[in-house]
Symmetry: C2
Subunit: 115 residues, 2 copies
């Protein structure tokens, strides 16, 4: 079983396991947010389809992330493929503002090059 950070348990950034730090610990792994994002936008997807949608992820890592996200209750594997749960959608919704922020970032970088 994948050992995943949980609120209330010691995690990176908080020995007392504050929820936000536990979430950062979980999402702050390679591909974690990318997988959740892709699955939210394009799911449900089969393992192979998800692997394809992520473009360059290796099956090992994809499997590891799916187990972790599954154990956290963010994704589920049913007939038809992997899908985000209601709770997973909650996280996805919370990630949406990052998308706008990322565009501000991209624009800022671009402007700095132009100047």
């Amino acid at each position: 079983m994948a050992k995943i950070p949980m609120p209330g348990e010691p995690v990176r950034g908080s020995r007392s396991g504050s929820p936000i730090m536990a979430l950062f610990d979980l999402l702050g792994r390679r591909w974690s947010m990318g997988v959740l994002w892709t699955l939210s936008e394009q799911g449900p997807l089969t393992f192979r389809a998800l692997q394809n949608a992520c473009e360059t992820i290796s099956p090992n890592v994809l499997n590891a992330r799916l187990k972790e996200l599954g154990e956290a209750g963010f994704v589920a594997h049913e007939a038809g493929g992997y899908r985000v749960t209601e709770l997973g959608d909650e996280i996805y919704q919370a990630l949406l503002p990052l998308s706008s922020a990322s565009k501000v970032w991209a624009r800022t970088l671009k402007e700095n090059l132009d100047v």
Copy 2:
């Protein structure tokens, strides 16, 4: 120099470098969001103070993250210590909803244990 993902460049999850995937690539590294979060809430902080606030981060990783976040334009090092920039604050604001979501997550996990 730390090599960081940039929108427009190939990144994990997007060969064409979509901003959100570039941001996920950058923030999806251990401690990345934790450092930005801590600095936003408690900054400005000296290197040592930041290291302390993060509780268990090693100086190597802290230094690496600071360089990356600095190169991305999210944090700056001035007299008085490290601080988030205006752009960094933009990202921090976008992370705020994750805090509420993490609490929903914690509550859900707790309920499932009780049941």
